[in-house]
């Protein structure tokens, strides 16, 4: 598993993104560390083409607009 963001908060370039695969499942590539990052990103390839699937992590706020968790 790779992380899409490096220590400076910058994303890896597309070539790196495409080079990472998980679980031996063809067409599915995972590029984020779900435990630490603000979003997970998967690039999916199937018969209909390819897409980038982004899932931002749920943010919990208190009622003064600060992140509370």
């Amino acid at each position: 598993m790779g992380k899409i963001f490096d220590d400076d908060g910058k994303v890896r370039d597309r070539e790196d993104l495409l080079s990472i695969s998980i679980g031996g499942r063809p067409g599915l590539r995972k590029v984020t560390d779900e435990s630490t990052e603000l979003a997970t990103i998967h690039r999916v390839e199937d018969a209909s083409g390819s897409s980038l699937n982004i899932t931002p992590k749920t943010v919990d706020f208190d009622l003064v607009g600060r992140v509370s968790d």
């Binding site: 390819s50 897409s51 980038l52 931002p56 919990d60």
Partner: protein, 150 residues
């Protein structure tokens, strides 16, 4: 910067402005995509099309200015003691720009009032492919109804 609630809009909902935001389905909501150049003052930023949301928006490929329509829900999440902002999948075809921030705003209101800014934490590369946004398991964000324990 981190994800932000658009506090000026919240103020306008409750004060004499009586801003009539609506998540009942009567209003069109949009998700607009911006790059990392956004510099946002959490107390003053107001709306799509108004600084800083008048620059740095994605522009190429299949992205249309203003962003993609989506259907939000705004309801108490049972058992969580939290009010949840959620939606289904939001899909934008052929995004060809690097981006980082997602702005949620009420497109039906004349002011295009901003509601939420989601920070993805870093630049997402330009892939020239369909980009699908799906909120996390507990929605885009939640408001806690109880004071957090010290």
């Amino acid at each position: 910067m981190g994800s932000l609630l658009c506090l000026k809009t919240y103020e306008d909902v409750f004060d004499a402005t009586q801003l009539a935001m609506d998540t009942s389905g009567a209003h069109t909501w949009k998700l607009a995509v911006f790059d990392s150049s956004l510099a946002i003052d959490v107390e003053t930023f107001t709306a799509y099309g108004v600084a800083p949301f008048n620059a740095g928006e994605a522009a190429g490929g299949g992205y249309s200015a203003g962003g993609a329509t989506f259907v939000p829900t705004w309801a108490i999440q049972a058992g969580s003691q939290r009010l949840r902002w959620n939606s289904g999948l939001v899909s934008i075809a052929n995004v060809t720009d690097v981006f980082r921030y997602l702005l949620h705003y009420d497109d039906t209101l004349a002011g295009n009032n901003a509601f939420y800014v989601c920070d993805l934490g870093g630049d997402v590369p330009a892939v020239a492919e369909t980009v699908n946004f799906t909120p996390g398991a507990n929605g885009w964000f939640r408001l806690r109804g109880l004071r957090a324990s010290a």
